[in-house]
């Protein structure tokens, strides 16, 4: 943004005041704010991971306490809502990639869903691998 001159002889540019609730005006803006809020779910998931790691460090009793706490109804509700926001983050993030980096083959632009597809494949493979490591019987 360029610097706007503001002196005695040059009045400030008029800027229409914007309401704090500007994002409630249309579905597009609301979706934008919802997408921006996914970062809170991301941070929350890290907090859950840190709580799990702390319980593992402290011992079996702390781990039992952690699993018990995760079963509390409010905690469960919070995690289900957070998980929905995580999915929104993943989907919007993957679908943004082809727009940030348009791929061209032979002078033609590759369709967006073909550019985004490898992201989804990577996501499924990574998720399955993590689940396998966590769930396998040693």
């Amino acid at each position: 943004m360029s610097v706007q001159p503001s002196t005695e002889f040059h009045p400030r540019w008029y800027r229409a005041p914007v309401s704090t609730y500007w994002w409630m005006g249309s579905w597009r803006y609301s979706l934008f704010i919802l997408r921006e809020l996914t970062s809170v779910a991301v941070a929350w998931s890290v907090v859950v991971t840190l709580l799990l790691l702390r319980s593992l460090l402290k011992g079996p009793d702390a781990y039992a306490h952690f699993t018990h706490r995760m079963q509390a109804p409010w905690m469960l509700a919070l995690n289900i809502i957070a998980f929905c926001f995580l999915l929104l983050h993943t989907i919007t993030w993957f679908n943004l990639a082809p727009r940030a980096m348009p791929v061209r083959v032979g002078g033609k632009r590759v369709p967006e869903f073909l550019v985004a597809a490898p992201n989804y494949v990577l996501w499924v493979v990574a998720s399955a691998a993590i689940a396998w490591f966590v769930l396998r019987k040693s």
Binding site: L37, V42, S45, L76, V134
Partner: protein, 116 residues
């Protein structure tokens, strides 16, 4: 631009954290926050998870999964507050709070993973 800024560096952290969060975090919250508490999948034993978390690869993985997404959050949440609430006079406080929080979480994860 009139003066050099660090926005590029913070944006890089945001971007890297966004990828890590998109690919690895949903499955972790699904397992430990939804599937195990609801009994959809058997809760892994303490010994199994401890052995898993102690392996070098898992330590590195968990450190990356904790640190980068926190910086993703710091960047995005900062702008959510700037744009959503339009509190210009608080911008510096918001900046310190967001990146300070991310830094504390990163150090905490490093400490936990070294001691585990």
């Amino acid at each position: 631009m009139s003066k050099p800024s660090n926005e590029g560096f913070f944006w890089l952290l945001f971007s890297a954290g966004g990828v890590v969060a998109a690919v690895f975090i949903p499955v972790l919250l699904f397992l430990f926050g939804v599937a195990f508490p609801l009994g959809w999948l058997p809760q892994p034993s303490y010994e199994h998870l401890l052995t898993l978390a102690r392996s070098p690869l898992a330590r590195i993985f968990l450190f990356v999964v904790c640190s980068l997404p926190l910086f993703h959050w710091a960047h995005r949440f900062r702008f959510t507050l700037y744009d959503g609430l339009q509190v210009k006079h608080l911008n510096e406080a918001i900046f310190v709070l967001c990146y300070g929080g991310a830094l504390v979480g990163t150090l905490l994860s490093g400490y936990l993973l070294l001691k585990i």
